[in-house]
Symmetry: C2
DNA sequence: CTCGGTGCAAATCTTTTGCAGTCAA
DNA sequence: TTGACTGCAAAAGATTTGCACCGAG
């Protein structure tokens, strides 16, 4: 986990970004929480960092590809450190906890933390015939 | 299509809601557009209805089950008249047009209006072991 | 030392709410 | 007639932006 943090930090430095308290804290919290967090949740965790800086840092890290943005029905988007490999999610409608589901094509995915699934959503993103 | 509108209107009346210009226009636009629309898009179409009323009407129709709310990555949710049967969506990342995809279990779904699919997202909603 | 990033405050945008007047039933 | 809705205005919340100062490199 420490490795993941260091990797992102060196990558940022390589690209000319400075390593500030706000950015270091943001990455650290996302790495150790192991749960995608909304901007508001991040602001609550980073009490001593200005909200504007949280927004700016999240946007930058997302644009640079270090953060994955996860859209959830009826909720603000949540952010997590990018994993690289393709995957999906399960969300608990009661406590909000999220589980990462591998989409490897090799074996059937398993849900370790879930008891029951009530609904699912599938969305495709692509080009319609007019725009292709 | 006219039938769908009339059906919703009688159902609303049966439940004690009044049929106002705002509500009638909202339902009419959603029925004839045949595309899910965001609240902002609806406000633009319903220029002579106050934004606050659009928000109130959309919420009421959604709570009463007449509107389906569709979450799209990096976008405001869109609303469409409920179809009843379970289905999914494809979104064009260029023009935003959406296609409804049946999820019947009988035959493979087909995408009529789409040329290429770039990505997909699957999300499960349910109860985790702690909350079950 | 430099200038990219931060904090703070103000601006902007989105959504909600209170209230008095209006109109569907 | 009556109270469920609406429009309007203000409030609340979320996000962005301008600017002077600060600190990472």
């Amino acid at each position: 986990m420490k490795d993941a943090i260091d990797e992102i930090i060196s990558a940022l430095q390589d690209r000319g970004f400075r390593i500030t308290k706000a950015r270091k804290m943001l990455i650290k919290h996302l790495a150790q929480k192991d749960q995608p967090l909304s901007i508001q949740a991040l602001c609550a965790l980073l009490k001593d960092v200005d909200e504007a800086s949280v927004y700016r840092s999240v946007r930058m890290l997302h644009e640079e590809g270090f953060l994955e943005e996860i859209a959830i029905a009826h909720e603000a988007p949540r952010y997590a450190l990018s994993h690289g490999h393709h995957h999906h999610h399960a969300v608990c409608t009661s406590c909000g906890v999220m589980e990462h589901i591998a989409c490897s094509g090799e074996k059937l995915p398993t849900l370790k933390a879930f008891q029951t699934i009530k609904s699912h959503e599938v969305t495709f993103y692509g080009l319609c015939k007019k725009c292709a």
